[in-house]
């Protein structure tokens, strides 16, 4: 076999300005550790304009008469732009800033010891986006505020930044009042409530639950015996019904022989079902009638206890309520307040990016027997990405990663209509509008649960998140980043018609304990 390599090298020799070499003092040297490379794109504009981009290799499941396994789906990528905010869907060339000198993107190598979840014996490569501590600039904080605000700040009808504070305070006060009501009802003795429930469950519920379980386990064998006897009796009646008229002279055949046996088994089965029902009724009675010294039933106390746990997290003598919904919402308070104060003072947030793509899919429509065209037009406005990172390292010859994407967009609009929608109203009618879109996607947690990309021996792509087990689950649940998705307002069709609003969407605190994705060649 002949091997040839055609290489094109472009060697660039810049000029070196040779100034006088001066010895660096300690202070200067200590500043120049060169741990990372700062990357900034200033006044950036990327636009494919009139260039034609085609995505190939995607097939539909629609057969084409056995020539191949599926028909090609032609994807024309007719629009793709990344530019500054205010570009009007990429039509006005607006320079965008990706990072800045004081807040650059950074590519760096770090020792594993820099992270608690990664072993000290390895080094890792990290790419992270700019970091901001100011509440208004920090994407995570700002998105939190935007989630309560719901509308896009600065747009018509959305000029009072304190609306978010009001919304948050009303949620906090509702939750706090629920908590106070519960504490008041039990005179603040939440630990006694918990103890009382536990002792009642141990004394009354657990023994009865065992009875229920035993009774329940006896039903299936009784049913099987009945069914077997029914088969042996010639299946002369519907299963479960007894033989009533047996023989010419009365009912003797119904008490003897195979029919008699079957009738006995039916009685046995019904008796078992009855026993089970009695046991269940007794269990329900115990929930209702096991009272505490103030006459509160166990079922009421259990419901109140569950509500309290979700509001406060843990039950403890001080009623600190430190880990539940109340604390989570109160934890948002400082961030939301800070952003509201900064916006109300007239301070503005840095401009984000506008990112958009338009695709045309040519898909075979089996019903019509012809190809049809589908469109998708995605426009994101005012995107900021700070707080995102990707860590890569190698362990046992495998590529491991930890990944976090923080993506906030003032608006994400997804249209599905092509050139047929030639007016703004028509385009709006086929568009999904999402305001204050915030996705914080975290995949992997150090070496406890690394994100692994691999290619299997049979040539398929595989992505795996695994590793949480009995030895490390506490670390995982205490420390692994969660994923969030907030959309302040979702609207289908014309943005001005309130009837089209679908409300908001929140996916809170999502964590995957196990995930495995494998491609399969069709």
């Amino acid at each position: 076999m002949n091997k040839k390599i055609l290489c094109t090298f472009l060697v660039i020799a810049p000029i070196f300005a040779n100034a006088d070499l001066v010895a660096l003092d300690d202070a200067v040297l200590s500043n120049a550790t060169g741990e990372g490379l700062g990357i900034v794109l200033e006044d950036f504009v990327f636009n494919v304009d009139d260039a034609v981009t085609t995505v190939t290799g995607i097939k539909s499941s629609s057969p084409d008469g056995g020539i191949t396994d599926g028909r090609d789906v032609t994807v024309d990528w007719t629009e793709f732009y990344v530019m500054g905010e205010g570009s009007q869907n990429g039509t006005v060339e607006t320079p965008g800033q990706i990072g800045s000198l004081a807040h650059p993107w950074v590519l760096e190598t770090l020792p594993g010891s820099a992270f608690a979840s990664i072993g000290d014996d390895i080094a890792l490569l990290q790419l992270r986006s700019g970091e901001y501590t100011y509440a208004l600039e920090n994407t995570d904080t700002y998105a939190k505020w935007a989630r309560y605000q719901e509308c896009v700040y600065g747009q018509a009808g959305c000029t009072n930044a304190n609306d978010a504070v009001t919304a948050m305070e009303s949620i906090v006060s509702r939750l706090t009042s629920e908590k106070n009501t519960l504490e008041g009802f039990y005179n603040g003795q939440m630990v006694s409530l918990e103890n009382g429930i536990n002792s009642d469950i141990a004394a009354q519920i657990t023994p009865q639950q065992q009875v229920v379980t035993t009774e329940q386990s006896q039903i299936a064998p009784a049913y099987n015996s009945m069914e077997a006897a029914w088969t042996a009796s010639g299946e002369g009646v519907v299963l479960g019904q007894k033989y009533e008229n047996c023989g010419l002279f009365g009912t003797s055949e119904c008490t003897t022989g195979t029919k008699g046996t079957y009738n006995d088994r039916v009685d046995d089965y019904l008796a078992e079902v009855d026993d089970y029902n009695v046991a269940e009724r007794e269990l329900a009675r115990r929930y209702q009638e096991t009272l505490d010294s103030n006459g509160n039933s166990l079922i009421k106390r259990l419901r109140d206890y569950e509500s309290y746990r979700s509001l406060c997290g843990d039950v403890e003598a001080s009623n600190s309520c430190a880990n539940g919904l109340v604390a989570i919402r109160e934890g948002d308070r400082e961030d939301v307040n800070n952003v509201a104060v900064q916006l109300s003072a007239g301070y503005s947030r840095r401009a984000g990016l506008d990112i958009g793509s338009k695709f045309k899919f040519t898909v075979y429509d089996e019903d019509k027997g012809a190809y049809r065209e589908d469109f998708m037009d995605i426009d994101m406005k005012g995107v900021t990405l700070d707080g995102s990172y990707m860590k890569l390292w190698s362990r046992d010859n495998e590529l491991n990663a930890e990944f976090r994407l923080n993506l906030y967009a003032k608006e994400v609009n997804i249209g599905t209509c092509g050139s047929a929608c030639n007016t703004q109203a028509l385009q709006d009618s086929a568009t999904l509008f999402m305001d204050n879109f915030y996705l914080s996607l975290s995949l992997g947690y150090g070496e406890v649960q690394p994100l692994k990309f691999s290619v299997t021996a049979d040539g398929n792509f595989q992505l795996e998140l695994s590793g949480v087990d009995v030895t490390n689950y506490e670390d995982f649940y205490d420390n692994a980043q969660k994923s969030y998705l907030y959309v302040g307002n979702i609207q289908l069709g014309n943005a001005t018609a309130a009837a089209n609003s679908l409300g908001s969407l929140t996916v809170d605190g999502l964590r995957a304990t196990y995930l495995k994705v494998t491609s399969h060649d069709l």
Binding site: N2, K3, K4, I5, L6, C7, T8, F9, I12, P14, I15, F16, A17, A19, D20, T33, G34, E35, G36, L37, G38, V40, L41, F44, V45, F46, V48, D49, D50, A51, V52, T53, V55, T56, G57, I58, S100, L101, A102, P104, V106, E108, Y132, T133, Y134, E137, G346, Y347, R350, E398, L399, F453, S454, V455, A457, G459, N460, F461, Q462, D521
Partner: protein, 207 residues
């Protein structure tokens, strides 16, 4: 027999130095002229424009040494097309990530490369009395790559794939480990036309 040939095209760009009357410079003066040089680049890169030496789109094609090329068609049966470069990487003990059928060309004019001294930076984490980000001292030399404004793409294409062999094999080839050669094409991209790419890419060390 394995014949390896490397054809290398070296484009060396050196800048012109201007020799004026030579006079000794003060140290302070010297310091002030650092990073004033720059490079202006225009270029055109083409990969496998006319097909590579390994594969032929149809049977019966010979390379310049008279050996018959393997048949590998990256077009359709009716319109055979030469395949582009294949680059494969194995990141763990399993299979390979493949950048396949990379071919076509791109051209740009006006890529600049220089260093510039940035005295100040906007710190968005600190606000002045009127709420604007404060301007603070930066005083660092940064590498400034001026993007070329327009990049022309001429049938530039590639395919991303995963495979169980780094080398391409005809369908049904049994590999050394007993598996049959399998490649899963994730997707392919083909681009034609002019794209806009503007801005400055700044690179500098951070602590």
């Amino acid at each position: 027999m394995t014949i390896r040939k490397i054809t290398a095209l070296l484009g060396l760009i050196s800048s012109v130095s201007v020799f004026a009357e030579l006079a000794p410079m003060e140290e302070a003066e010297m310091e002030s002229v650092t990073g004033q040089g720059g490079v202006y680049l225009s270029g055109e890169l083409a990969f496998n424009k006319d097909g590579g030496p390994l594969w032929g789109a149809t049977s019966g094609q010979f390379d310049e040494f008279g050996s018959e090329k393997q048949v590998r068609n990256c077009g359709t049966a009716s319109e055979p097309e030469e395949c582009g470069i294949r680059i494969a990487a194995q990141l763990d003990q399993g299979g390979w990530y493949v950048l396949d059928d990379l071919s076509g060309g791109f051209a740009f004019e006006g890529l600049t490369l220089r260093t510039s001294f940035r005295e100040t930076a906007l710190n968005y984490d600190v606000r002045d009395a009127s709420g604007n980000p404060v301007v603070e001292a930066f005083n660092k030399e940064v590498v400034e790559i001026g993007l070329p404004k327009t990049v022309s793409l001429n049938n530039f294409k590639f395919t991303l794939a995963v495979a169980n062999s780094g080398e391409w094999k005809p369908d049904g080839t049994v590999l050394a480990d007993g598996n049959t050669f399998q490649q899963t094409n994730l997707f392919g991209i083909q681009m034609n036309g002019d794209i806009t790419l503007k801005g400055n890419l700044l690179l500098f060390p951070v602590n």
